[in-house]
Amino acid sequence: MFTVRVQPEDFDLAAEQRKLCAGRTDIGAVVTFTGLCRDERGTLAALELEHYPGMAEEEMARVLNEAKARWPLDGAVLVHRHGLIRPGENIVLVVTASRHRKAAFCAAEFLMDYLKSCAPFWKKEHLKDGTTGAWVEAKDTDDKALEKWSGDFGT
């Protein structure tokens, strides 16, 4: 089972993993990644996540197909939320299932690196003092994270 979703509501990590594994005895490893809204400075009321409807789903499906071509995956789920998300809440979920742990780990990390740099989502800060803060800036390290997938990769 391979699924991609963009939604305003929260997701259920355990339910997604259960659905992937239901009735199967050939899956040996499941890796999940949950990205959460952080507030290190204590000034953030919420992040507003804007997205490009249609393209967001298409890009997520594209990177998922890329991961399927690279590793022997038995299932995967990508869920990305949009709208207002408060500190401590979930933003993004990646679940990968495979016979082998190495494939599940590599695919999950690959999917996150690509989601960060290719999926059309943008974060804007809403501050506790009622003002609207800045748009979160893209990080160089996110582009650099892609480089390691351009040559050899683990299997």
């Binding site: 990205g35 996540l49 804007e50 997205h51 490009y52 249609g54 393209m55 967001a56 298409e58 890009e59 990305h80 933003i91 993004v92 996150m112 989601l115 960060k116 740099s117 290719c118 999926a119 059309p120 989502f121 943008w122 974060k123 804007k124 748009w135 979160v136 800036e137 893209a138 996110d142």
Partner: protein, 85 residues
């Protein structure tokens, strides 16, 4: 050529609208040409595209570079580098 343009994040905020329809002269061949053409339309566009190389573009919901031809496009999007995940 008639086209739908869509804008996101601070590109949208600077231009002041989420989308619009435009009629393009035949001289506009690539994404780069389109950015140059938009920049001439007013201050808000000049502000949005002031650092043009930074701006990302998509044709019909697929990422493209600035030298991509726009012939046949129905919807072109402009937005800042993505910050999802």
């Amino acid at each position: 050529m008639s086209l739908k343009l869509v804008y996101f994040a601070w590109v949208r905020e600077r231009i002041g609208k989420p989308e619009e329809h435009v009629e393009l002269p035949p001289s506009v061949v690539t994404i780069g040409d389109l950015i140059a053409w938009l920049t001439m339309r007013g201050e808000e566009y000049a502000y949005a595209f002031e650092n043009a190389p930074l701006i990302r573009a998509a044709i019909d919901k697929a990422h493209v570079k600035h030298d991509a031809p726009i012939a046949g496009a129905r919807e072109i999007a402009f937005f800042p580098p993505m910050t999802g995940g």
